[in-house]
């Protein structure tokens, strides 16, 4: 048992290291998707970096060569990420598109469509968003009400989506809509992709608790979408949506965040009971707990990787990542703020210790615990799908959607 690279893996690592050394941007602070204030320029930088990566084949290591990938293994993809994470490269803009939307396209669209859409997405020229959630369908995403009606060779979409991350700068989106309200909810859905510049689409940014706006409301008024852009059969949209959601669980971790090592750094810099906080047993115990959690997640990943490198599917343990890391982000940030005493509330990077990373993290963590499946839903999934416990009683499963009582 070891973590060593095989000789081939090691060769790949060295090759990647060399390439990154020559090509990775040298900026100190790259500015990701989360830093709202730098969004425009960050987007431009992210596009440049993405194009460079795609050119070298590193943008989608596991994808087949015909789609612009490297035809490599998942392990190689992980090696690349490990090496890339040593640099401050711009991140975040393409995760949803390349992690969830394009894999769905690849699984369900025609060859011609793949040829048309995959490469521009890979090169960062076209960005994709996920139009699933609605005001009354979040955790219960199969409850969407946005409807599509057939009109000749087109469908006409009317309704509203919400929380659509990046819709304001995206070119295309994947969408789940209701095409038949007279059958039970999962059976009346269909799945499309569409041009976000289509007439009848109106995008309104939603302001987040942190003040910035990364997600949006998207309104559809008689938006025309060709039937050719339907993925899967009419009424079988849920099946397609599951492809996206499966990929979501793999794609959506939480972003790089301040962890036990940042907390250790802080604890050396502040004092508690007249001594450096790092000397305090309570602080040490907390750091130890978060260290153990982080290591647990890291080695869980190693187990999944081992399966991957053997060509097997990772076991259910791979589904615990976000439900551990998102609450950890919040708790750790809150504890770190506490160590700064009254000054812990300062969120001006020039005044606050460690450039207010903990204050920002405390704000954004509240969202990560909700985005891409809430803590509660993820635990339900572990309990029901992994442990095989009985599901909650479902009152909505076999009733035609339009006869469901008051589903607000």
């Amino acid at each position: 048992m070891d973590f060593n690279d095989t000789p081939e893996e090691n060769d790949f690592r060295l090759e990647v290291r060399e390439w990154l050394k020559n090509n990775a941007p040298k900026e100190k602070k790259a500015g990701g998707y989360d830093s709202i204030d730098v969004q425009e320029s960050a987007l431009a930088r992210a596009r440049d970096w993405q194009a460079k990566k795609a050119e070298a084949g590193y943008a989608a290591i596991t994808w087949p060569k015909e789609y612009g990938g490297l035809g490599g293994s998942s392990i190689q993809s992980v090696i690349y990420s490990q090496e890339e994470s040593k640099y401050n490269v711009p991140t975040g803009f393409f995760d949803i598109g390349l992690g969830m939307c394009i894999p769905t396209i690849m699984a369900w669209a025609t060859k011609e469509q793949n040829e048309r859409y995959v490469e521009p997405a890979l090169y960062g020229k076209e960005i994709w968003c996920q139009l699933f959630s609605e005001p009354s369908a979040g955790s219960d995403v199969a409850g969407v009400r946005t409807k599509a009606e057939k009109d000749g060779d087109d469908w006409i979409i009317n309704g509203q989506k919400v929380w659509t991350s990046g819709a304001h700068f995206c070119d295309f989106g994947i969408i789940v809509v209701r095409t038949d309200p007279t059958v039970p909810k999962h059976k009346g859905l269909s799945f499309f992709f569409l041009d976000m510049k289509s007439p009848g689409i109106e995008i309104k940014p939603i302001r987040q608790i942190s003040g910035g706006s990364n997600f949006n409301e998207v309104f559809f008024t008689d938006v025309r979408v060709p039937d050719l852009q339907r993925l899967g059969e009419v009424g079988e949209g849920w099946k397609v949506a599951l492809t996206t959601l499966m990929n979501e669980r793999l794609a959506i971790g939480v972003p790089k965040s301040a962890d036990y090592s940042s907390l250790t750094q802080l604890a050396k810099d502040v004092i508690l009971n007249n001594k450096p906080a790092i000397k305090n047993d309570l602080v040490r115990a907390k750091i130890a707990d978060w260290y153990v959690q982080s290591e647990g997640l890291k080695y869980t990943k190693m187990r999944s990787l081992t399966s991957l490198s053997k060509g097997e599917t990772p076991g259910p343990e791979s589904s615990i990542g976000k439900v551990v890391s998102a609450p950890k982000m919040q708790d750790l940030a809150s504890f770190a703020m506490d160590l700064q005493g009254a000054a812990g509330i300062l969120n001006d990077p020039d005044m606050s210790l460690m450039h207010s990373i903990f204050q920002n993290q405390w704000m954004s963590a509240a969202g990560y615990r909700i985005a891409g499946g809430t803590d509660e839903i993820l635990k339900n999934i572990v309990a029901e799908r992994v442990l095989g416990l009985p599901q909650d009683i479902r009152v909505d499963k076999n009733v035609p959607f339009n006869e469901l009582a008051d589903s607000r």
Binding site: G143, D338, A343
Partner: protein, 360 residues
């Protein structure tokens, strides 16, 4: 046994609650968050008119001369409303400090003005993210002049006077001094914080005229005594805020449907709300004991204040955070009112220094 507030105190609580419901709905808090005002002057004036700023100030100085228990019930309602007013700085901290350690001249000078609302006071202890202790206070007082930096000072951008914790050069000990914040030689800078509904400032004193206050002889323990009083009072604000968060979460859990059922019908949500309730009740009981010690000047005040502070901080932080979680995506928006309690929970939780140190 009668471990409860009196009928009169409960009536006062209702009166304050009614006033705040009418005059300080959450939109008022939002106006302060989004606007340029440091606080809601209108709400503050209303509290002054009710005489609340003089609650514990002796009648000879124009106050109501009521007990700290009255302050506790007021605090709970202010916390519930997340009121954007300098009550904690001016009343729990500065007024109590002046009552306890002001010279008779200082009391005559300031207490009537505090009672009548003519001035707002604040209290400045920390100087940076370093936990203040008797050895690292750098703000010095010498021959009637004050020099050094305090930050963050709550409501410091607009308070009229400030009780400053200083190193008294003449006695080489920790002391308190009062400074008029309109004096020459003061630089103030409003700080950006997680909760812009409560102003915080950095104040730099540069040879600023100031008056030293009395001391018991051990200046640091004087400071601790004030912090203990404030800890109990602020814990009631936290309890009010936690109850408001629980209430919002409960309303939403009843109203919101997922998978054809109210989300409140799922045990994950039920247990979350039950946990909030349990934490709040434990905090309340600790704070009642804190209040009793405060009122009786009991020997247990120190430990009771720490317990109040630890339990109420835990309850409010948890309730505010899980209120957002219960709301799902909508809870994470600027438009939602969940944010006011999330922000305020940290301000109150950190205001008197780290919880880790209160656990000591």
């Amino acid at each position: 046994m009668n471990f409860d507030f009196s009928e009169d105190q409960k009536l006062l609580k209702e009166q304050v609650s009614r006033f705040l419901t009418d005059n300080c709905p959450i939109e008022v808090v939002r106006e302060v968050l989004e606007g340029d005002d440091f606080y809601s002057e209108k709400v503050w004036k209303g509290l002054v008119e009710l005489g609340l700023t003089g609650t514990t100030i002796p009648e000879e100085y124009g106050g109501l001369e009521l007990s700290p228990l009255e302050l506790c019930v007021i605090a709970e309602e202010l916390g519930r409303a997340s009121a954007p007013v300098p009550f904690s700085s001016s009343v729990y901290l500065a007024t109590e400090a002046i009552k306890l350690f002001g010279t008779s001249e200082q009391k005559e000078n300031y207490l009537p003005k505090l009672a009548s609302g003519e001035i707002i006071a604040t209290f400045a202890l920390p100087e940076s993210a370093m936990e203040p202790n008797p050895d690292n206070i750098q703000c010095t007082f010498s021959s009637g002049k004050l020099t050094g930096t305090k930050m963050p000072v709550p409501d410091g951008s607009y308070a009229d006077i400030c009780v400053v914790i200083v190193r008294d050069k003449t006695k080489d000990s920790i002391g308190m001094s009062i400074v008029d914040l309109s004096e020459k030689g003061i630089e103030k800078k409003s700080l950006s914080t997680l909760d812009q509904t409560r102003d915080h400032a950095e104040i730099i004193f540069n040879n600023t005229s100031s008056e030293i206050m009395n001391s018991s002889g051990d200046g640091w323990s004087d400071v601790q005594q004030i912090l203990d009083i404030a800890a109990v009072l602020i814990s009631f604000e936290q309890i009010g805020g936690a109850e408001a968060s629980l209430n919002m979460a409960k309303e939403y859990a009843l109203d919101r449907f997922a998978f054809g059922r109210q989300i409140g019908s799922y045990q994950a949500v039920k247990h979350k709300l039950a946990d909030m309730y349990i934490k709040i009740e434990l905090a309340k009981s600790n704070s009642y004991y804190g209040a009793m010690m405060l009122n009786d000047k009991g020997s247990d005040l120190k430990i009771a204040a720490a317990a109040s502070r630890v339990a109420a901080t835990d309850a409010f932080n948890f309730a505010a955070q899980e209120n957002i979680q219960t709301h799902g995506g909508i809870g994470f928006t600027w438009e939602a009112d969940t944010q006011f309690y999330y922000r305020r929970s940290q301000v109150l939780g950190l205001s008197l220094g780290s919880i880790a140190s209160w656990k000591k």
